[in-house]
């Protein structure tokens, strides 16, 4: 390995996001290797390693739940935010803003629980609760982001003959993107956590080992599940960090 090559690899390894992804992958696929460690930590346990479903499979389900609900919420939230900042939808803006503020006071876990009597057990209540909850910060930030576009910028865009669609796509949305992304980040962070709790309503997620461990007095399961969920949350958060930098490059030029 040449010197330069070495520093490239070293630099990559020093990147927090890369490190976190690496840690997550190791936890997902290498957890069984830790069995002797957990056996030594809890010598009284018959089964010191969670072997119900693979951690990778649980993580995939977990991410599917988070991804689907966040995508649906992003679509609905951004569209709603766009609608109430156009002249024809402005009448609904006060209501939408009040709803977004008040709604975020509801604890996510309670929203999840209340969804069960409405639609039953399984992935459906989790998907619905996660989507509903995620819409709120996204719509709030979409409104704030679009509102933050300076009036003179819009005035000159119109004055130069840009069509409304072009103004929206090339000026308003790019300028609002960092704020909208921050809302999406809040939503996804809450969803990663709430999806873990969704194991209590019958959705198969990374919370399952924790719930099984808590119910069966198996602390090893709890710790294994908690480690993976925590690593996933950190990876998602660092990923958004990177995305935010990318979207606001011009601000730091």
């Amino acid at each position: 390995m040449t010197g330069r090559r070495f520093w490239q690899v070293f630099g990559l390894l020093a990147d927090r996001l890369v490190l976190a992804v690496l840690a997550l992958v190791l936890l997902l696929y290498g957890m069984p290797l830790l069995k002797p460690f957990f056996a030594a930590l809890y010598p009284t346990l018959d089964r010191p390693m969670y072997e119900g479903d693979g951690f990778a499979a649980l993580a995939a389900d977990h991410m599917a739940l988070v991804g689907l609900s966040s995508l649906a919420a992003a679509a609905a939230g951004v569209l709603a935010g766009l609608a109430v900042t156009r002249p024809w939808g402005a009448e609904f803006r006060g209501l939408v803003e009040a709803l977004a503020t008040a709604g975020q006071t509801f604890p996510p876990v309670a929203v999840l629980a209340v969804a069960v009597p409405a639609v039953g057990f399984g992935a459906a209540p989790a998907l619905i609760a996660l989507t509903l909850y995620a819409v709120l910060p996204i719509v709030q930030n979409t409104i704030a982001g679009l509102e933050g576009v300076p009036a003179p910028v819009l005035e000159s865009a119109r004055g130069m003959g840009m069509r409304p669609a072009a103004i929206l796509l090339r000026v308003e949305l790019p300028l609002a993107a960092p704020v909208i992304l921050a809302g999406l980040r809040t939503a996804v962070a809450i969803n990663v956590g709430t999806a873990a709790i969704a194991s209590t309503v019958g959705a198969k997620t990374l919370g399952l080992p924790i719930i099984v461990g808590l119910n069966g007095a198996n602390p090893a399961y709890v710790i294994q599940g908690a480690l993976v969920v925590a690593a996933l949350a950190v990876v998602v958060d660092l990923g958004f960090d990177r995305l935010a930098l990318l979207l606001s490059r011009w601000q730091r030029a």
Partner: protein, 317 residues
């Protein structure tokens, strides 16, 4: 008679119960630099914004090159006009070059032509292309931002330039420099410019003709000289400023116009370097005070004697 480039025909605009523009008729000839002056709330910006249909008149019509703009697509109309506003409104997420290229890109120019045009405009506005091309607006000073704003407005080579208090937010020195540069650009390009300001001095310095507005009505439309020599009423005179009104008036007339044309015999020719005939009277007065004399010879553009200017002539109205 040539067709005016911009014509307001009995234009009225109301906002609720308030009449911002009240039956204004005004023509701006091709290549003319027309300045709309008035205090805030006089309707001057509204009048300007009706030219590119950012505002629509409630009554009357606006014609550009003879065409009633009410029948034109607003976007297409706006691409034929440069538009510069006080707060500049550069796109903060685009580089200087991309900002200037906005209209050419909208018009679908080929990439090489856009790049060439951007560079040419940056040089016209005294912005070194190599230094500024890739910078973002927040990296520029206020004056540099407005230079980019003007370059952006000129980019599509529009026949008309609309400017709404473009220099009002700048410091006095930058404002003066940009004013001089704008006058040069006007001479070089021959654009028709409609320029809004509340500053009568700016209007006197830039305009071919000035339109004075008060409470939505056009009170006077005349050359800077006429505004100074024959103000329509007390309002216009106040706008010029009573204190230095005499000196301002001296600034718009020339030594050649006031000189006594009867060439005296060489023996009675007053001593001293003759003044060029196109020198403003204000400077001529300054020369007399500086040289301590009460009369000076005046020469025409070819350097021939064109008469004598007496100190007493300056106060003759």
């Amino acid at each position: 008679m040539t067709r005016p480039m911009i014509a307001f025909e009995g234009v009225t605009k109301r906002f609720g119960s308030w009449t911002a523009v009240d039956g204004v008729s005004l023509a701006v000839e091709e290549g003319e630099f027309c300045v709309l002056v008035g205090p805030s709330g006089s309707g001057k910006s509204t009048l300007l914004r009706m030219v590119n249909r950012l505002a629509a008149p409630d009554a009357g019509a606006v014609r550009v090159a003879g065409e009633d703009i009410a029948g034109l697509a607003p976007e297409a109309l706006r691409r034929r006009m440069g538009y510069v506003i006080q707060s500049v409104g550069l796109f903060p997420h685009w580089t200087v070059a991309r900002n200037i290229a906005t209209v050419p890109v909208l018009l679908g120019w080929p990439r090489a032509r856009v790049r060439e045009r951007v560079d040419a405009l940056m040089r016209l506005l005294n912005l070194d292309p190599d230094r500024f091309r890739g910078l973002y607006p927040h990296q520029l000073s206020g004056g540099q931002q407005q230079r980019v704003g003007v370059a952006r407005a000129l980019a599509g080579d529009p026949p008309v330039l609309l400017m709404d208090e473009p220099f009002s937010a700048l410091d006095p020195i930058t404002r003066g420099t940009l004013r001089t540069e704008l006058a040069q650009i006007h001479r070089k390009t021959g654009k028709t410019i409609l320029f809004v300001t509340h500053d009568m001095d700016e209007a006197l310095a830039l305009a071919d003709r000035i339109a004075v507005l008060e409470q939505g009505r056009l009170v006077q439309h005349a050359t800077p000289r006429e505004i100074l020599t024959r103000p329509a009423d007390g309002f216009v005179r106040d706008l010029v400023g009573r204190e230095e009104w005499g000196l301002k008036r001296l600034a718009v007339e020339t030594a050649g116009e006031r000189a006594r044309p009867d060439a005296p015999p060489p023996s009675e020719q007053p001593p001293g370097e003759p003044l060029p005939g196109d020198m403003p009277l204000r400077r001529a007065l300054s020369e007399m005070i500086a040289r301590g004399v009460d009369r000076l010879p005046v020469m025409d553009a070819e350097g021939r004697p064109a008469g004598v200017l007496h100190l007493a002539d300056l106060v003759r109205s």
